[in-house]
Amino acid sequence: MPVANVDLIDGDLRYYSYNPASKDQLDQISELISANLSEPYSIYVYWYFFHQWPQYCFLVSEKSSEKILGVIICKVGPHRDVRMRGYIGMLVIEPEYRGRGIAKKLVKLSIEKMMEWDHVDEIMLETETSNAAALQLYELFGFLRTKRMHRYYLNGSDAYRLILPVLDRLATRIGFLDRIVDVPAGVV
């Protein structure tokens, strides 16, 4: 299905696609993330995501406001040439708005769009082993912890890799799959 702008109202809140032309949105996003994630991200990271996958950044605001309360940033690409992998890079909800189901909605929206627009086989992400809120949230959707990584983050904490299997090819070890696409090395 072709990519289309998302713009939905749910109660008092509006869920919508990021507008790559808006400098204000970019500033707000980077501020929100920088204030709420331990890992420092440079502007290049945002450029990297927004340049190739602007359609996979969704925002939340009050219906009547431009102020961004929540953001999710994702990307999609072939994984080792054999699978389509969706990746949730960042997810933050403004602290006062947490616990109201906003993250749940953003995650669901992103996954649905990645399935719809890119037919992903799996969705992947990493999170700190101590981030109970994020683990609980993702595991509600069926994400499994597939790997623990020793001291993955700059702050020295371990991480889990989480994967949500969407299609069947996921459960086969990489070396046993046929190639799905020809992509130049180093794209993802």
């Binding site: 290049y44 990271v45 499994l144 623990r148 086969t172 070890r173």
Partner: protein, 733 residues
Amino acid sequence: MLEGTRALEIGNERLDTGLIKLRPSEILFDSSKGRPMDKVAAVMNELLNSFMAWVNGLALLVTMLSCRYVYDLLENFKRNYKIEEADFINTRMHPKGYTPEDSEESQYVNIVLRGYTIGLIKVLSIFLKIAMDVLYEEEDITTRSMDLNYFCTLSVEQVEGPLDEAISYLEKKPHVPFQREALLHLMLVKNLLKLSISMNERVDLFNARETLDVSHLHESVEILDELRTYQYVSLPESLFSRFVQVDCNNRHIPTSNVTLSSTEAIDILRGIVTSIQEVLLQIPNIQNEAQLILYLQHSIGEEMAHSASAIVRGFFQLFFIRDDKSICGLDETVGSLALRSMSSLCLVANSISDVDSWHIENTSDALTVRNDCFAKVSLLFDDIDSAFYQKLSVYGNNRCRQRQLLNRNLVLWDSLQYNAEVVEMHLSEYGIGDKLIQEGVPDQPCLAISSYIYYEKLCMMTEVVLTGFEQDTYRPSEAHMMYWYASELFAHTHQHLAGRLKEINSSKLKWINNMSKKIKKAKGPKKEALRSTQKRLVEEAVPILEENLAAIEQYLVPVSMTQYYLCRAVSMSVQLLEHFVKLPDTNSSLATPEKLYSLRMKPWSSIGTPELPPYERYKESNNIPETLAKYEGEALSRMLSKIITSVETKLDTVKKSVDTVMDNFEKDEKIKARYHFDDNRYMKKWQKEVVSTCDSYLKELEACRHFTGTEKHRLRSKKGHSRLFPIYYLQEV
């Protein structure tokens, strides 16, 4: 996540080192300036603290290198990489040809502190080498060197000059306050430098007559214990700063400097020294391959991986497997260990590894066939060597990596098994390779090599399953499934041991006995030859075969049985607990249970034998909650009680079975000789862990008997008695 994440970004305070504000005193710090001994001792102490902060995983840039003495010295060393150039004179501050004043305080800095700093940097360089050779960047340690050379190109002897000069200078000044502290720091470094010698010590594995020299480590511990009692004055102002982050070739984001307290630093270093000492003292005590594997699994792979510094793990790896693939530097190699390992399970005097015994049959072109068979066997043994190398290389890693490497080894050992089967079957067509001799069954190839590989693979498979619990990779709702799968694998292991592996050894014994009949029938030189072969086999092979049989029957079989029951009982216990959990709302899940099962089982899914049980089999074998859901009221209580009792019985069986294993272990001399190591510590630990785990679940089950059914529970896990068996329990919500 991405390379770019940690890249520098101009203009962003969190990401641009150019925006770090430095005080004038930080910029103008003069390293060559004289200082009293109390300050010098304080600097030495702090340098050690920051060194340990690096060992603990932080970047050099924010630890040791943030000290101006270190930075200035290394910058100067860069001029021509000669140790004489490594001094404290900052050439941006002082004109060419400048020499520091000739005062006593100046000598404290430019002789004593310089000797110390040089020595400590060389210790750092030994650690850096360990890190770069075998550790994982960032996850174990951070080696980013900022384009500086930490005397890696110089030998220990080359840097010892300034250190020795500092020591003899200071020894002549016993009355200067803080002389003792400073001297101890210097002696500590001198001892630590000997680690590079320790790392290359050679051990005649399994035959060592002497212990290794660990006096320098012993002395280091004594020094550290004395250092622990001292207090220091404040540090010179601006000594540690972010100057270096701004000044050196830095592509990284600004970060605060980090140090540790002296107590923390001494604890870490003392831990490193004592752990290395332990390794050096223990390895010569190991008597055989079986003990070595136990030592690697328990002391190194588990205990050390959990508690020791990454540096110790790295030291161990380099000490254990040398560049030439020798083990501990002498006659033993990866290949010889692999052969020992096969021999102590099932490959004893097998004709497949004895080319002289090959009598090629069924062909007109015997020579070509013989050469072809020889090439195939050689190649197979080469592959076994590499796979065994991969197996041995796992233990020195951090626990997360160990699991990943094991996971990778599964694929390797699975295809190795396939290759081995092909080769062994092919060779058996020409009568090469031993046969199974069973009453009433025609002889069939024993496939000793494939059988060994299959056994190793099964052990790895279960280890990957169970270490998932240790790493908390399973949700509570997956626990019963993974213990069930572990029990399936233990059942396969048990079957393999009690079946084929036992048969291979006993068939060989029978075959050797049967030789007597052939000898009787034979005549002349053939009779003599047969007789001497039998004599050799009786002397050399029979004892090993008997030991193997004892090990299999009295130890390996009962252990795999115990583990089978344990995993099955725990799986059932958890299922029972799940009955009391309000079923989670699965509506929000975007994946079907079958898909989740397949994903969870992915590491084992490509394995040919044993094949992964299909989802339906898993559901059929784990149906306690579904069964209970069919009942209500009294009938439910009765059913519940019945199941609880049956699980309790299983747990009791496990406890009894552990006792049997321990009994065998104490009684059987053959087993004792092979497996008793370090006061049989590992087995005692296993016994305690299993029994306590059973007791914990018996308690949880007892609690279940008293639930009314109206409580609301959540399934949770808590630390258990073994890392592989956390205890799942019900928590009221």
